[in-house]
């Protein structure tokens, strides 16, 4: 088997895993919320979620029918041997996985407005490249972005006079008006940047950071904690019905410097079925899976 075939092969199996098994950190927080919840309707929903996770494994099926548009976030070493072929290989892995997992057909060509039936299309799967100099490794996050939790994402540019309080209000407002339909409890990623684009990218990055990790800026971490407290105090529970235990799996903030007179703010959500997987390859394609311990492909 060539190195390329091997990469496609492993990636297909990894996509299969991500579609069927939630990462350890997400399962951990879900269990805590389930145990804390006291509202009968909300409890019934958590019971279904856990039954669903078990059945996904025993029946070998995707956790949720909406397997999303596949997204790959790469940190690729400039010396990783397959760097030039990554896009082609990920396209192939997506096509194969669509049939083998199987994944729902979720790529609609814009303007032509036709579902391609292959989960591939113009710039789909979505691939974001980060380059790491002097490394021969590849770190790859595979994420399945379902329509429901992508829908409430928002990005805007505020005047700095709005302050960080203004960003908090923007996030909470989005949660109440739109997040409610995105299958809470939700992962909340907040990005603070220079413009709509950079803020949105950071919000996505934040939503993909493992739960329980902190922003290393002390004040940004205070914002993470305070926002989590505020959102959990809304009274919202799983699936948007009332709940006592809270409605977030975690709040992560990612930030960068900004222009003196503008502040980009964005929020990106992940649903309870937060299908994120992280895998690290070395140059020989030995790999380690980070979010799903005790799993073999």
């Amino acid at each position: 088997m060539t190195l390329e075939q091997k990469f496609v092969d492993i990636t297909v199996k990894f996509i299969d895993l991500v579609a069927k098994v939630l990462p350890d950190d997400v399962v951990g927080v879900l269990s805590t919320l389930r145990d804390k919840e006291t509202e009968p309707m909300a409890k019934a929903i958590y019971e279904s979620m856990f039954e669903n996770m078990e059945k996904a494994v025993s029946m070998n099926r995707p956790i949720c029918q909406d397997t999303g548009v596949l997204q790959f976030f790469l940190k690729v070493g400039t010396k990783f041997p397959l760097i030039d072929k990554l896009s082609d290989m990920l396209l192939e892995a997506t096509t194969v996985a669509t049939n083998t997992v199987p994944l729902r057909h979720n790529a609609v060509e814009t303007f032509i407005e036709k579902n391609t039936g292959t989960n591939t299309g113009k710039n789909v799967p979505y691939i974001e490249y980060g380059i790491v100099p002097n490394s021969d490794k590849l770190e790859m996050i595979v994420y399945m972005a379902g329509g429901g939790c992508v829908l409430p994402g928002r990005s805007m540019v505020m005047m700095p006079s709005a302050g960080y309080e203004g960003i908090a209000d923007f996030v909470a407002d989005t949660m109440v008006n739109w997040g409610i339909n995105a299958c809470p409890p939700l992962v909340v990623g907040v990005g603070i940047g220079t413009c709509v684009a950079s803020a949105a990218k950071l919000a996505k990055k934040a939503s993909l950071r493992p739960l329980g990790t902190k922003n290393d800026n002390a004040q940004a971490h205070i914002m993470e904690q305070q926002l989590e407290k505020a959102l959990n105090g809304i009274g919202l529970g799983p699936q948007g019905i009332p709940g006592k235990a809270g409605c977030v799996l975690g709040v992560n903030v990612e930030n960068m410097a900004r222009h003196p007179s503008a502040m980009g703010a964005a929020v990106s959500f992940g649903c309870w079925a937060h299908r994120r997987g992280t895998i690290v390859f070395d140059a020989k394609l030995n790999y380690e899976i980070l979010d799903h311990k005790n799993t073999v492909l």
Partner: protein
Amino acid sequence: MEKKILTTPISDEDIKSLKIGDIVYLTGTLVTCRDTGHKRRVLSNIVPKTDLKGGAVFHAGPIVKKVGDKWEMVSIGPTTSMRMEKFEKEFLEITGAKIVIGKGGMGSKTVQGCVENTAVHAIFPGGCAVVAASQVEEIMDAEWLDLGMPEAFWVMKVKEFGPLIISIDTKGNNLFENNKEVYKTNKEKQVAQIAKDLSFMKY
């Protein structure tokens, strides 16, 4: 507690007895219909072969697999019902469907549709697609396949499909709208409380 089970075709009496917050299950025929399907039925007046009178409609786009000449349900779960708000009232009127199942709440136009046509809206736990698929006994028919897998009109035989939480009842109560007001008030309070901890701007 005994499971409350609705069986299709569902009578008006059964529907009238339901109130928001009730947890019920469905046995019988369930069809999927979402964005394009609603438009096709309401705007183009194209009628599927399957009669929906007394029936149940699921806002869902499943993953199905063809095994021989039969379709097999792999995974099916609710999609955001609000996307169908524009057409649901008319849809209920012309089809006579009695229960619409989806995710999240629906708006005032659907509430009106439920009151006028003796129908309810219910939610199925979103993302619990394997639980739902395991309650589908058989795919009996597939119509409108030209719309693609998620949008096609799948006709299924289901057994004790649920839990379904009633979110709009025939009296015009709306679980999500009621809560929305509470959530909004709480949100204002919560954001005001943390504001002082987030005053990082320097003057």
